[in-house]
């Protein structure tokens, strides 16, 4: 029973998000692989948004009302994007596919197999131990645990503010290593526990491993769309998914880095496909110019609680 409860949020994220992305984009623009990868991420974010809305409007930080909101958001996204894209013909069609034969075919199969093996091993590792790396239980897991166990979006403040506020008779407040970090990552952690009632921080790892798998699926889909050659698409996606630093963040789940990397990477690929990125020769300067804004926006402590997304 508990296993089913823990799989529910994953199924909602995967099915809801995938159907939304697939329905949103006309045939040919998003393959099933792209829809799976992008859809899972969309489903997770909408799950977290669902919890946030549910907690804000008084239904509590609970899975069932949040799941209802998540489904509604998926339907809304599909409808809005479908209507919008029907009038937009600027997105280029995929290049014609090249037939992979002989070595190429076996390479594609091998890359797909080792990618699946990697995600499976990381999934086993990620769910085999409680939250392990420091930031996971010092600043992300603290919020998730309080919101999960109390069912309310309790406020986090600095230790000094805590002393002032908790002396009074007002609402309960909490403190941790970085009280001003935004709520997306903790709410993804809460969403990962589905309708269960016991705080189980080892189960959160499943989401982190599947997020890495979603990156692999989306990257394979996008690369096949632009190259038309399965061995190249699977090979390049495998190279990304097998990067030790990404694998480590999936195995030692709970940091915000992996979810954010996956989101940014998916956005970057989508922008590249629709031609929203600068020309290739200008790319290094463009990336370099992005660096200061990336650094300043990663100063999460100064951004306040109003922002939902960490940068």
């Amino acid at each position: 029973m508990r296993t089913i409860e823990l799989l529910l949020p994953q199924v909602f994220a995967l099915v809801g998000g995938t159907l939304a992305v697939r329905l949103a984009f006309p045939a040919g623009r998003a393959s099933w692989l792209c829809a799976l990868g992008y859809g899972y991420v969309v489903g997770q974010i909408f799950g977290a948004v669902g919890l946030y809305i549910s907690g804000t409007i008084g239904f509590g930080v609970r899975f069932l009302p949040a799941a209802g909101i998540q489904v509604a958001l998926c339907v809304l996204l599909a409808a809005v994007l479908r209507g919008w894209l029907r009038r937009d013909s600027s997105v280029s069609q995929a290049v014609p596919a090249l037939r992979a034969q002989g070595v190429g075919r076996w390479l594609a199969i091998a890359f797909a197999a080792v990618m699946l093996l990697r995600v499976a091993v990381l999934g086993l590792e990620a769910t085999a131990q409680p939250l392990y790396p420091w930031d996971a239980w010092q600043q992300w897991g603290t919020k998730a645990r309080v919101w999960f166990e109390t069912g309310e979006l309790k406020r986090f403040v600095s230790p000094e503010e805590w002393l002032q506020i908790s002396s009074g008779t007002g609402d309960a407040v909490y403190t941790d290593a970085n009280p001003r970090y935004p709520p997306l990552v903790p709410l993804i952690q809460v969403w990962s526990l589905g309708p269960t009632r016991t705080w189980d921080d080892s189960a959160i790892g499943l989401t982190w491993a599947i997020l890495l798998g979603a990156l692999g699926a989306a990257m394979t889909g996008q690369l096949f769309r632009t190259s038309g050659y399965w061995p190249l698409a699977f090979g390049a996606a495998y190279m990304a998914v097998s990067l030790p630093i990404l694998d480590t963040h999936a195995a030692l789940a709970g940091y915000g880095d992996l979810p954010l990397s996956v989101m940014f990477c998916l956005a970057f690929m989508a922008a590249a496909v629709v031609g929203a990125l600068p020309a290739q020769r200008e790319m290094p300067q463009w990336l370099f110019s992005c660096w200061p804004s990336c650094r300043s926006s990663s100063d999460r402590g100064s951004s306040g609680r109003s922002r939902f997304f960490p940068s």
Binding site: L107, T150, D176
Partner: protein, 306 residues
């Protein structure tokens, strides 16, 4: 004591302190200063000690006549010493150590999540990592033209895959070894069992017993402790009670801000003293009257009384 020990400055202590944040060090005496004890800290994290390099330590010279492993902490702390080895500082030894370090499979540690740590001996950018990064950057460089390449140059379609495969096979084996080590350490039981088998098991056990006896959801708990790991884990396991702790500096509040009925969860600390006769907890912020509620391996919970 073996002779010529000073010529072997690379010390490997296979030691595991029970308390993960207990300071560990090596002590030694020399024949020319028999009354003086020299020392050097041994870096360790979650049961794994680092190689201690004393080649630049001028005190590691002459005839070493005594050697000891020291553990800092409080009564009841223990350290398991499996052995201490000393090696000569030669290019061959260093190379063999580095190769063994790169090739050895080891379990996760607190720094695994970081790509590179400037200044950490075994976490600096290793040649393996540099080659792997270079290889992948090279691949990324050709990726934008890949579509044209595979159409115009069919023979080049699968070039370079073999190199990547070697690196990744090594990493895959490492991941499997890490998973096996994790299962050996934590088992495969429910989450309570995983916490009981973790490095902070004592803190978890005490925090759980405290929570079990509390009915008021607004119960305030103050966590005092010098070690960031211990006070952070105590605070985490005490949630969702209203826990106060300073994760970064470990600063403790003034006693005036603590009121009757509050709990104080004390992990190892040099700043806080318990006066048993006066039943007072004393620190530089003041003193409060307390009643001990529970104790496990150096971790104590007090209730503040009038």
């Amino acid at each position: 004591m073996p002779s010529g020990l000073a010529d072997r400055p690379l010390i490997r202590c296979d030691c595991v302190p029970r308390r993960p944040d207990a300071p560990l060090g090596i002590l030694w005496r020399r024949a020319d200063h028999p009354d003086k004890t020299f020392n050097a800290p041994i870096e360790h994290e979650l049961g794994e000690t680092q190689l201690l390099d004393l080649s630049q330590n001028h005190d590691w010279s002459g005839e070493i006549v005594g050697l000891a492993v020291a553990l800092g902490g409080n009564p009841g702390d223990v350290v398991l010493i499996r052995g201490v080895t000393a090696q000569t500082d030669t290019v061959g030894t260093r190379l063999a150590t580095e190769i063994a370090n790169w090739a050895g499979f080891r379990k996760w540690d607190g720094q695994s999540i970081n790509l590179a740590i400037v200044g950490a001996r075994d976490r600096a950018l290793s040649p393996v990592l540099l080659v792997a990064v270079g290889d992948r950057l090279g691949f990324a460089g050709v990726l934008p033209d890949a579509s044209a390449t595979i159409r115009n140059h069919p023979r080049d379609r699968h070039r370079g895959h073999d190199r990547v495969g070697w690196f990744d096979a090594r990493w895959q084996l490492d991941l499997l070894a890490k998973y096996r080590a994790t299962i050996e350490e934590f088992g495969d039981g429910p989450i309570e069992e995983l916490w009981r088998r973790g490095p902070d098991a004592d803190i978890y056990a005490l925090a759980t017993s405290v929570k079990r006896g509390i009915r008021d959801p607004k119960q305030r708990v103050f966590v005092f402790g010098d070690e960031p790991y211990s006070r952070g884990r105590a605070a985490y396991h005490l949630l969702p009670l209203l826990v106060h702790y300073d994760a970064v500096s470990g600063a403790m509040p003034s006693a005036q801000l603590i009121r009757t009925g509050d709990l104080i969860f004390l992990t190892w600390s040099r700043q806080v003293r318990y006066d048993k006769d006066a039943q007072q907890l004393i620190w530089n912020g003041g003193a409060v009257r307390v009643k001990p509620l529970g104790y496990i391996h150096g971790n104590v919970v007090f209730k503040v009384v009038a």
